[in-house]
C-alpha cells in the first residue's frame, strides 16, 4: 500500500510540475529534467527512490500534452508568413487556437491508447526488429539524412525568363537547407569531440546548442514579426472532429510516432515528414491530431521502451533525452513496464484535464500580454539560464548556434535540417569514421 501511494503521489507531483513548466515557451522538458535530477540528487536522502521514475515519467507525459499551448498560442506569426507556417499557427490567426490545443491533446490521449494497445507488438515484434536493425544503425541514419536532403523540393519554381533566374529563385531554399545541414553537422562534430563546457555541467553539454538552434531563432522571429492575434474562441461543449479524421490521424501520427520513438536521433519533425510522405494524407486536422499522437509516442513511448525487457532485449531499446538523463540512476526490472504504463495512463488523463484548464488560462493571458515584451523577457531568461549553467562558454556556443538556427527562419527551409548537429557526428561515430573526421578537423589534439 505504501508503494502504491508513493508511486501515485509522485505521478501527481510529476504531472503538476511538468504541466507548469511546459506552459512556458522556449523551455524544453529535457533541460528541466536535467535540473530536476540535480535537485533530486541533492535531496536523495529525503526522497524515496521508488518515486523517481514515476516522477520523471509524469514530467514527460505532462510536457507532451501541455507543451502544445506555448507551441500553438505563444509562437505566433503574422499573416505574411502564413505561406510557411503550420496549421496550428494558421488556426491561431483564425481564432481557433484553443480548439487546436485541445485537438492536439486528444491526439495525446490516442497516443496513450496506442501505447497500451501496442504492448504485445512492443514485446513480441519490436525486440526482433531491434536485433535486426541495431548492427545497421549507421547506414539507416545516413539513409534518413539523405532522404531529408533529397526530399526538400524547390518552393515556387517556375518564375523567371532565363534559366538562371528560374534556377536561383528556386534553389534559394534548397541551398539554405543544405547549408543548415552542413553547418549544424560541423558544429555537432566540434561540440561532441571538443566540448567547451565544464565537466560539472557535461550532462547539459548540448543544451546551449539546442537553445541556440531552435529556441532563440523562434524568439527572434517572433520579435521581428508584427502581428495581432485575434480573440480566441473557446468552444464550450465539443470539438469539431469526425471519426474518419481520428482514424486517419491515428494512422499517420502513429506511424510518425513509431519511427521517431524507436530510431535514435530521429525527432518528431523528421518522423512526421517521413510518415507524411509514406501515408500521403493531407489536411490540417490530420496534421494537428496526428501531431499530438506522434508527440506522445516520441517523448513517452521512446522512454517506455527502456522497460521492454525480453530475452532478446535484456536492456530494452529506449532512446531520447530522458532515457540518457536518468538511466544511470536506476536499473529497470522486468515487471516495471506495467507500473510505468499505469503511471503514463494516469498522468496522461490528468494532463489532459490540466490542458483543458490551462488552455483557457492561455486564452485569457493572450488578451493581456504584450508579445514583444514577453519574448524579450524570454530571451533574457534563457540567456541567464545558459550563463548560470554553462558560463560564458555556453553563451558563446549559444550565439554560434543561433546564427546557424536562423537560416531556416529567414530562408524557409526545414527546421529539422538543424538536427544535423546530432545526426551527422553520431552517424560518423557509429560507422567508425568519427575519429578520422575529428582528426581531419584537428579536433583530437586541441
Amino acid at each position: 500500500m505504501h508503494l502504491f501511494l508513493t508511486v501515485l503521489s509522485y505521478t501527481f507531483i510529476g504531472t503538476a510540475v511538468g504541466s507548469l513548466v511546459s506552459f512556458f515557451p522556449s523551455l524544453h522538458i529535457y533541460n528541466v529534467a536535467g535540473i530536476a535530477l540535480l535537485i533530486w540528487g541533492s535531496l536523495q536522502n529525503m526522497l524515496p527512490e521508488i518515486g523517481m521514475v514515476p516522477f520523471f515519467t509524469s514530467l514527460i507525459v505532462a510536457f507532451s500534452f501541455v507543451n502544445s499551448i506555448p507551441m500553438t498560442m505563444l509562437s505566433a506569426a503574422d499573416e505574411s508568413a502564413s505561406a510557411i507556417i503550420l496549421p496550428g499557427t494558421k488556426n491561431l490567426l483564425l481564432g481557433k487556437g484553443y480548439e487546436t490545443v485541445i485537438m492536439s491533446g486528444i491526439g495525446g490521449l490516442i497516443g496513450i491508447i496506442l501505447l497500451v494497445a501496442g504492448t504485445p507488438f512492443f514485446y513480441y515484434i519490436m525486440p526482433y526488429i531491434n536485433n535486426i536493425t541495431r548492427p545497421n544503425l549507421a547506414w539507416i541514419l545516413l539513409t534518413v539524412i539523405m532522404y531529408m536532403i533529397f526530399s526538400e523540393w524547390p518552393k515556387g519554381a517556375g518564375h523567371g525568363k532565363t534559366v538562371w533566374q528560374k534556377f536561383s529563385g528556386a534553389w534559394a531554399n534548397l541551398f539554405a537547407g543544405i547549408s543548415a545541414w552542413a553547418l549544424s553537422g560541423i558544429l555537432g562534430i566540434f561540440i561532441i569531440n571538443h566540448s567547451i563546457i565544464t565537466h560539472q555541467m557535461a550532462f547539459q553539454n548540448i543544451m546551449p546548442v539546442f537553445i541556440g538552434l531552435f529556441a532563440v531563432p523562434s524568439i527572434i522571429q517572433n520579435l521581428l514579426l508584427s502581428f495581432e492575434i485575434p480573440e480566441q474562441y473557446v468552444s464550450k461543449e465539443s470539438i469539431d472532429l469526425d471519426f474518419k479524421t481520428i482514424v486517419q490521424s491515428t494512422y499517420s501520427g502513429g506511424l510518425a510516432g513509431m519511427l521517431c520513438s524507436y530510431i535514435p536521433l530521429i525527432t518528431m519533425g523528421i518522423g512526421s515528414i517521413m510518415a507524411g510522405a509514406a501515408t500521403a494524407l493531407r489536411g490540417d486536422k490530420v496534421f494537428i491530431l496526428g501531431g499530438g499522437v506522434a508527440k506522445l509516442l516520441y517523448y513517452v513511448g521512446s522512454f517506455l521502451f527502456l522497460f521492454v525487457i525480453t530475452p532478446i532485449s535484456p536492456f530494452g531499446f529506449a532512446k531520447g533525452g530522458l532515457n540518457i538523463i536518468i538511466k544511470p540512476y536506476f536499473y529497470p526490472m522486468e515487471n516495471d513496464y506495467f507500473l510505468i504504463l499505469s503511471c503514463i495512463v494516469l498522468s496522461g488523463f490528468l494532463s489532459f484535464l490540466l490542458l483543458m484548464y490551462l488552455a483557457k488560462v492561455a486564452v485569457v493571458f493572450l488578451k493581456k500580454v504584450n508579445f514583444k515584451q514577453m519574448y524579450v523577457v524570454m530571451l533574457i531568461l534563457v540567456t541567464i539560464f545558459i550563463y548560470y549553467l554553462t558560463g560564458w562558454n555556453g553563451i558563446f556556443v549559444m550565439v554560434v548556434s543561433t546564427c546557424i538556427g536562423t537560416i531556416p527562419v529567414f530562408y524557409h527551409c526545414r527546421r529539422s535540417n538543424l538536427m544535423g548537429v546530432l545526426l551527422i557526428p553520431i552517424t560518423l561515430n557509429m560507422a567508425g569514421y568519427g575519429d578520422a573526421v575529428a582528426d581531419f578537423l584537428h579536433l583530437v589534439n586541441m
Binding site: P87, I132, N136, W139, F150, A157, A278, A280, G283, A431
Partner: protein, 361 residues
C-alpha cells in the same frame, strides 16, 4: 509515385545483395565495414525526380508565358493565347511550350483556375474558379459571377490530349504545357520537361559509371557492386513510374519519345504509395535478417504472409472504410459543374498538376 516510395524501393532492391548487406553491417561477418553502399540504392531511387524537379525544369524555357492579372482575370484571352500557341506548333511543325502561372492575391490567397483541352470540340477552355487558401481550400462564393469561362476553338489541327482531364492551377507554381505536331494532330504534353531524359534506363546506366569509377579508384573491395546497386535503384524508379499514366523516355537518348504508363494506379494515391513503402520495409527487414543476424525463424512465405499480406488486407479494409484514397480538391468540383454547364466533354476533373508535383514531396 512519391519520392519516399521510390527511395524505399531503391533501398529494398539493394538489400537483395547479400554481400552489400554484409558490408553495411557494423560487425558480425568478415566483410562488415559499416559501408554506406545500401544508401546508394535509396539515393539513386529518388534521383530521376531530383534531376527533373531540381534541375531539368529550369532549363525548359517557355516560348509563351500566360500570366494574367490576378485581380482582373481574362479567361478568354488566356484560352486564345494557349490556342494560338497550339496553332503555331501545328503550322510551324515545332515544339511550342507555354508556361502558366498561379494568380496570387495575397500571402495566403490564390485564385484557382482550371484548364481543359477538349478533344471532342477541339477547344481550349479556361474556367476561373474560387479563391483558395494555401491549403487549397476554396472560399465558397468567391468565383467570378461573370466572365468566368474562356474558350478558343482551334482553327487548324486536331488536338490530341493524352490525359483527358482538366488541370487546376492554384498555389505556388504553375505548370508548363508542350504542344507539337503529330501528323494532322497537335499533341498536348503535360510538364514536357518531366519524365523525359531523366527517366531513362540508359541514363541510369551512365550515372552509375562514375560510382564504379570512384570506388575502383579508391580500391574499394567489390567496387562493381556499388555501380550495380546505383543502377538498380535508378531503374526501379523508372519501372515503378510505368505503373502510372505518364511513363517515361525509357531509352533516351536513343529514343526521345516519352512512353505512356500502364495506367494501373495514380501516382499520388496514398494506398499505392503506402503499400509499396510497407512492402519495401518488410523486404528490407527480411533481407537484413537472413543475411546477418538470423533471428526470424520463419520461411519466406510464412514471413511475408504474416507481416505483409495480412496487414495489407487489413490496411485495404481500413482505407476503404475510412476514406484513405486520392483526395479531390473541393475547388475542382465546382469547375466540373461549370464544364457541364457549358457542355464541355471530359472525364472527372482531376488535379493532375498538383498530384504530379506532390508525388515528389
Amino acid at each position: 509515385m512519391k519520392g519516399m516510395t521510390h527511395f524505399m524501393s531503391g533501398l529494398a532492391v539493394a538489400t537483395f545483395f547479400a554481400r552489400a548487406v554484409h558490408m553495411a553491417a557494423r560487425g558480425g561477418n568478415e566483410d562488415a565495414q559499416s559501408s554506406f553502399i545500401l544508401v546508394l540504392g535509396a539515393v539513386y531511387g529518388i534521383m530521376p525526380d531530383t534531376l527533373d524537379f531540381k534541375f531539368g525544369q529550369f532549363f525548359s524555357l517557355a516560348d509563351y508565358d500566360i500570366d494574367c492579372d490576378p485581380n482582373n482575370p481574362n479567361p478568354q484571352k488566356m484560352a486564345e493565347q494557349m490556342g494560338k500557341a497550339m496553332e503555331e506548333a501545328f503550322s510551324k511543325n515545332k515544339l511550342v511550350k507555354v508556361q502558366l502561372y498561379p494568380m496570387q492575391l495575397g500571402a495566403d490567397l490564390w485564385r484557382q483556375y482550371v484548364i481543359k483541352f477538349d478533344g471532342e470540340t477541339n477547344e481550349v477552355v479556361i474556367v476561373i474558379n474560387e479563391i483558395v487558401s494555401m491549403s487549397q481550400v476554396p472560399f465558397l462564393g468567391t468565383e467570378p459571377k461573370e466572365n468566368r469561362v474562356g474558350r478558343y476553338k482551334l482553327k487548324i489541327g486536331k488536338m490530341l490530349e493524352t490525359h483527358g482531364r482538366p488541370s487546376a492551377v492554384d498555389i505556388m507554381s504553375g505548370p508548363q504545357f508542350g504542344f507539337k505536331r503529330e501528323g494532322e494532330r497537335i499533341l498536348v504534353e503535360f510538364l514536357p520537361w518531366h519524365r523525359t531524359w531523366s527517366h531513362s534506363y540508359i541514363l541510369g546506366l551512365l550515372l552509375s559509371l562514375p560510382v564504379i569509377l570512384i570506388t575502383y579508384l579508391f580500391h574499394l573491395k567489390y567496387w562493381y557492386l556499388y555501380g550495380i546497386i546505383s543502377f538498380l535503384g535508378f531503374a526501379i524508379h523508372i519501372t515503378e513510374d510505368l505503373t502510372g499514366h505518364m511513363g517515361g523516355s525509357l531509352l533516351w537518348p536513343f529514343v526521345q519519345k516519352r512512353y505512356n504508363g500502364f495506367c494501373l494506379a495514380r501516382a499520388g494515391d496514398p494506398r499505392v504509395n503506402f503499400s509499396v513503402v510497407f512492402l519495401a520495409v518488410t523486404v528490407i527487414l527480411f533481407n537484413l535478417d537472413r543475411f546477418t543476424v538470423n533471428v526470424i525463424h520463419l520461411k519466406w512465405y510464412a514471413y511475408y504472409s504474416i507481416f505483409f499480406v495480412v496487414p495489407f488486407i487489413i490496411y485495404l479494409f481500413f482505407a476503404d472504410r475510412f476514406d484513405i484514397k486520392l483526395q479531390q480538391k473541393e475547388g475542382i468540383a465546382s469547375a466540373e459543374g461549370v464544364l457541364k454547364k457549358y457542355n464541355i466533354s471530359g472525364q472527372d476533373a482531376v488535379d493532375e498538376i498538383k498530384e504530379e508535383e506532390d508525388t515528389v514531396e
